[in-house]
Structures are given as structure tokens and as C-alpha cells.
């Protein structure tokens, strides 16, 4: 049983790799059905954010446990420019790039837990969890 997997995200093919590994790890965490697709989709969004805004970063997938409940933790981190206004970045339809601006708010809706920490000039870390039902 793999407890942790790291994916370097720097090319668009890495988005596909990250979400495929995410699906596998989510299955290991005991998630099933549409939750596997939901997790893979959320990972795809945060991975694309890394490529679009930070150029390079990594996604760490790990199995996690809380109150006896199993889950998958996804940490997406980069050392990119950081997000000036996180509240604004979390609004549907807001984008400084060419996207639909649904990446971060969409990923938050897909996952059970979602935290984002960002510092201008230092980078962004998104931590998300999905629990087994």
C-alpha cells in the first residue's frame, strides 16, 4: 500500500499523470464510485493552476485518517508568484489568466476540505481532503 506519492507538475502531460495517480490513491483510501472521478477532477484543476500561474510545482498525494475515517489528502504546492487576493481567486468566474476561473472554487466544491495559503513572491499551497463515505 502506497502511503505517499509525489508528482512533479511542469508539463501539461503531468496534469493527466497527477489525476490518474490521484484516482488510484483515492481508491486505496477506500473512496469509490463518483468520488474517484470527483477527486481526479479536482486534482486536474489544481495541477493546471500550477502550470498556468507558477510554471512548475508538485502534487503530493497521501492517505490520511481522521476520527477513524480514511481519506485522501492532496497537497499542491508551487513557488510561483503567489495569489494577491485569495478571496477574489475563490470567486466563480474570476481569472487573471485565460481560464474560466472555475479551477479553485470548483476544486473546493468537489472536495470535502479545502485550504489555500499563498504568499506573494513565494508561492501557493493548496491542501484538499476527501473522506471515505
Amino acid at each position: 500500500m502506497t502511503v505517499e506519492t509525489r508528482v512533479i507538475v511542469q508539463r501539461d502531460a503531468d496534469i493527466v499523470t497527477a489525476r490518474q495517480l490521484g484516482r488510484e490513491m483515492a481508491a486505496q483510501a477506500g473512496l469509490s464510485g463518483s468520488d474517484l472521478t470527483v477527486v481526479a477532477t479536482a486534482i486536474s484543476e489544481v495541477a493546471r493552476n500550477i502550470i498556468s500561474y507558477a510554471v512548475c510545482g508538485e502534487i503530493v498525494l497521501s492517505l490520511t485518517l481522521k476520527n477513524g475515517r480514511q481519506g485522501l489528502m492532496v497537497v499542491a504546492q508551487d513557488e510561483g508568484p503567489g495569489i494577491a487576493d485569495i478571496d477574489q481567486a475563490m470567486i466563480d468566474g474570476f481569472s487573471t489568466g485565460r481560464s474560466l476561473g472555475l479551477g479553485l472554487p470548483g476544486a473546493r466544491r468537489l472536495m470535502d476540505e479545502f485550504e489555500i495559503v499563498s504568499k506573494l513572491g513565494e508561492g501557493t499551497t493548496v491542501t484538499m481532503r476527501k473522506w471515505r463515505r
Binding site: V16, T37, S44, R48, S99, L102, G106, L110
Partner: protein, 127 residues
């Protein structure tokens, strides 16, 4: 990874076989656009049965493909969206607004036939 595009009468059928990168999706959009012109197609079917994820980029690209094809006189139908994928698209907050969808290839072809029949009689396509 390129997407095979088959010509069947005045309809193009593109069957996505495996996960596509963003680059693959953009190449697919280009190629489909060229083929609509070369084959004077009236309809396009994009089969996404094999896709286990349709994220915001893929969804936006499908919308753009359909919008561009419509401007050139071809109606697009996306078929085969898996039930789990449909759930994730909705939760993500996305819609395939402006893109016709059908359960599978057969239903998609039927939808195109109906739209062409309506266009022939009323002069306006329903797709």
C-alpha cells in the same frame, strides 16, 4: 495522442480513445475545424465515452469546438459522457451550454438527423 476522426456522409465522428493532454485537445480542435471545411460537414459527433475526467479546460475546449463548428454551418453533438463525469462537471460548476449532448453515438446521430430534417423544412436548425 491524436483523436481519430471518421467521415460518415456529411457527419464527422471523432472518438476520443484515451486521456488527452491540454495540447492534444487543442490539436484536436484544429484538426476538426480543418476537416469540417475539407469535407463540407454538416454535423460533428464527439464521443467522450473513454474519458474518465472532463475538467474545466476540456469542457471549455468542447464548447469552443462546437461554437466554431456552428459558425461554419455544422452542428456538434457530444456523446458518451459517463455518469460519474457528469456528476463531477456539475459539482465543478460547469455547463456544456450551447453544446448538444446525447447518451451515445446512436442517439447522437439520430439528433443530427432530426436537426437536419427540421432545417430542411423550417430553414432553421434546432442544434
Amino acid at each position: 495522442m491524436s483523436v481519430p476522426i471518421l467521415k460518415q456522409g456529411d457527419v464527422l465522428i471523432a472518438s476520443i480513445q484515451s486521456a488527452l493532454t491540454d495540447r492534444d485537445l487543442l490539436d484536436f480542435k484544429e484538426e476538426l475545424g480543418q476537416k469540417v471545411g475539407r469535407f463540407r460537414s454538416r454535423g460533428v459527433i464527439i464521443d467522450v465515452t473513454a474519458l474518465d475526467v472532463l475538467d474545466s479546460f476540456a469542457t471549455r475546449t468542447l464548447r469552443n469546438i462546437a461554437a466554431a463548428a456552428r459558425l461554419r454551418g455544422a452542428a456538434t453533438v457530444v456523446v458518451g459522457i459517463q455518469p460519474d463525469v457528469a456528476i463531477a462537471i456539475v459539482q465543478l460548476g460547469l455547463t456544456l451550454e450551447g453544446v448538444a449532448t446525447a447518451l451515445d453515438l446512436e442517439e447522437g446521430l439520430e439528433l443530427l438527423r432530426e436537426a437536419q430534417a427540421t432545417k430542411a423544412s423550417d430553414g432553421v436548425s434546432s442544434l
